[in-house]
């Protein structure tokens, strides 16, 4: 097992390198000259040249990359072109908010999907399954922003149970923090719940047909134990894979939902950076997001080793 884990961690290194190349290439791919953007519309040729020199844009691309990647490794992602705020600092301030939204959405998703998936799998083809499948289809086909607006109208305006917009840091009280996260969590969580339900339904149903489930029953294990222990652990591998994908989806999806609910998260920061062509900020956000997605995938890979002992040898 430790060997398996080490191998997975080492495999991240070349991947990170590729990501950093791609992120750096953003500078070259984005239309327009960042020096002109920063110096302003009315700047003179000399001012633009000075800006270019200050940003190191005259150096060979390789030197620029090594300089950027080198500081990135030490945690310095540069400075915003507009606010002179450090990129790492800005991300560090916003990231916990996005993580909170993602966690809220995943909590909602699992609370819905695990029972729904189990019920659908066990009662495959009968009405509880049809109901769960119907809701899963609805959940997948509803756009997030629309669900968000709908929830605000019903649960914030018509019945003011939850706040419509805003975010309270956890330091100001867990209750208020959670209260603010309910609607964004529901908005993002329903789609994810639908995906996980579908996957769990399929894989658990397959597992429940296996010979070893019959063995467990033949040895008198209780029906619930057979499903929850012998069934779920074997059915979990594809489900955990989907959960991993969905974390990536949630990080991306939070861009829209943070807008709808006025939450000061990473998505909000990303939109502003893109509109302003704040390249160091964009690079920083992409690198950090990619790193998080990779860490989630690592966790997923490591969970395979736990769920399916055969994997550990490979």
């Amino acid at each position: 097992m430790p060997q398996y884990a080490l191998k997975r961690v080492l495999m991240m290194v070349p991947l990170l390198f590729l990501v950093s190349l791609g992120v750096f290439a953003l500078v070259l791919l984005i239309p327009g000259d960042p020096a002109i953007t920063i110096a302003g519309e009315n700047a003179t040729e000399a001012q633009i040249e000075a800006t270019r020199e200050r940003l190191g844009l005259n150096d060979p691309v390789i030197v620029q990359y090594l300089g950027w990647a080198g500081s990135a490794l030490t945690g310095d992602l540069g400075t915003s072109l507009f606010s002179n705020e450090s990129v790492s600092g800005a991300i560090a301030a916003r990231f916990p908010v996005t993580i909170a939204v993602t966690a809220a959405a995943m909590t909602v998703a699992l609370l819905i999907a695990v029972p729904a998936g189990i019920i659908a799998a066990v009662h495959r083809g009968r009405w509880p399954d049809r109901l769960a499948t119907l809701f899963a289809s609805i959940g997948i086909s509803m756009p997030n922003f629309w669900v968000g607006i709908l929830l605000i109208i019903v649960l914030a305006l018509m019945f003011p149970i939850f706040p419509a917009v805003g975010y309270t840091p956890i330091s100001e009280g867990i209750g208020a923090w959670a209260h603010n996260l309910v609607l964004p969590g529901l908005t993002l969580g329903t789609t994810v719940a639908a995906e996980i339900t579908r996957q769990l339904r399929g894989s658990l149903h397959d597992v429940m047909q296996q010979d070893y489930i019959r063995t467990a029953r033949a040895n008198g294990l209780r029906g619930g134990v057979v499903i929850a222990k012998h069934g779920l652990k074997n059915a979990a591998v594809p489900v955990v894979t989907v959960i991993g994908f969905q974390v990536g989806f949630l990080l991306g999806g939070s861009v829209i939902v943070e807008r709808v609910f006025g939450i000061p998260g990473l998505g909000d920061l990303a939109i502003r950076a893109v509109l302003q062509r704040d390249i160091p900020m964009i690079q920083g956000i992409v690198v950090v997001t990619a790193l998080v997605v990779m860490l989630v995938n690592l966790a997923v890979d490591l969970s395979y080793g736990y769920l399916n002992p055969k994997v550990r040898q490979g």
Binding site: G220, R222, N234, K310
Partner: protein, 353 residues
């Protein structure tokens, strides 16, 4: 599983007499139906047999004869929505299992009666260590700590001949060979010292050399602990090897029952005789292997009268008519035997040595 009308007295079918004075398992007039697109089809038609304490009884027949359905229905393991026991009774040590509440039945399974399956490669859960799987069963029925249950698991693994049992208990199923996995399955089935073990083709998926070892093991375990064994197989050779008595099944019915020596010496049903001639012999390698013409009829298209008559070398016109109600009832014979053949008193069938 719907409760069946167990109150109705079963017709005087075979089984009781041959099971010895003190049967531990009595199956009586068992009828099982499966749901199909064309409605409910009867797949077991009045199956009766009994097993004495410590006795080994073979259930023999081709695929489709109903032997696996019989063993699954004894433990109540048939799929709940697509099958039901519509008649009959299964009594384990006098306790009726048909129609028993699910929770009570679960408590009986693995404790008083357990089962070994055909496929050792897929019958153990790949996600858990074998010692833990056995310990879980022990704790389910005996309670106690994980530590004592694990100790018991190591003990039974050692009993079934797994070398270095304490270490191997911490291995996963994929780290064992097929024969060793079947030993693990036997250990799991024996862990709570059941009164009856049902073994459904436990050696069919194994290499010939391993088959003999597993058969030996089952014989020893049965003898040492006085466990009754119901051995389901299509292999008459295996029956001769380890069974005291045999129940021959064809097309969802019991067609013959006898003590193994009598059965081989002088079969009283043409189907049994045909099975014997179809057995590969070590002598006479020159000739072609004998086969039984035709195939087992499917439920829903059972022949009228005797169900074996279309394939029977001895069939005459009245075999198509059957007894009064168009069926052939089982006939009790001397020596605790029985046969479902209309011509049982006219025919002299050839056995083997």
């Amino acid at each position: 599983m719907t409760p069946a009308s167990t109150g109705a007295p079963a017709p005087s079918t075979a089984g009781g007499a041959a099971g010895g004075t003190d049967p531990v398992l009595v199956v009586e007039d068992l009828e099982v139906r499966f749901a199909t697109d064309g409605g409910w089809l009867t797949v077991l038609d009045g199956v009766s047999f009994s097993v004495g304490r410590g006795e080994t009884v073979g259930i023999v027949g081709e695929s489709g004869s109903g032997k696996t359905v019989t063993s699954l229905s004894v433990l109540g393991l048939l799929p709940p929505h697509s099958s039901r026991i519509t008649r009959g009774s299964v009594r384990l040590d006098g306790v009726e299992l048909v129609g028993m509440a699910r929770r009570k039945l679960e408590a009986v399974r693995g404790d008083d009666i357990s089962m070994i399956f055909q496929e050792p490669m897929t019958s153990l859960n790949p996600a858990f260590k074998v010692g833990d799987q056995i310990a879980e069963v022990v704790r389910r029925h005996r309670g106690g700590s994980w530590r004592s249950a694990t100790a018991r698991a190591v003990e039974v693994l050692d009993e079934v001949g797994i070398p270095d049992a304490a270490r191997r208990a911490r291995s996963f199923p994929h780290e064992f060979s097929g024969g060793m996995r079947q030993r693990v399955m036997i250990a799991m089935a024996m862990a709570c010292r059941p009164k009856v073990i049902i073994a459904d083709e436990p050696t069919t998926a194994l290499d010939v050399t391993i088959q003999a070892q597993v058969l030996d093991l089952m014989r020893t375990m049965s003898r040492e602990h006085g466990t009754a064994v119901v051995f389901v197989t299509h292999d008459l050779g295996v029956v001769a090897d380890i069974c005291d008595r045999a129940v021959v099944m064809y097309a969802g019915q019991v067609v013959e029952q006898a003590v193994v020596d009598d059965l081989y010496h002088r079969p009283r049903h043409p189907y049994t005789a045909a099975l014997m001639t179809a057995m590969p012999q070590l002598t006479g390698r020159s000739g072609r292997l004998a086969t039984i013409p035709g195939r087992t009829p499917a439920p829903g298209s059972m022949p009228a009268g005797c169900r074996f008559h279309p394939r029977c070398a001895h069939a005459v016109d009245r075999c198509v008519d059957g007894d009064a109600d168009g069926r052939v009832e089982i006939r009790e014979l001397a020596g605790g035997r029985s046969s479902r053949c209309l011509r049982v008193h006219e025919l002299t069938l050839e056995g083997t040595e």
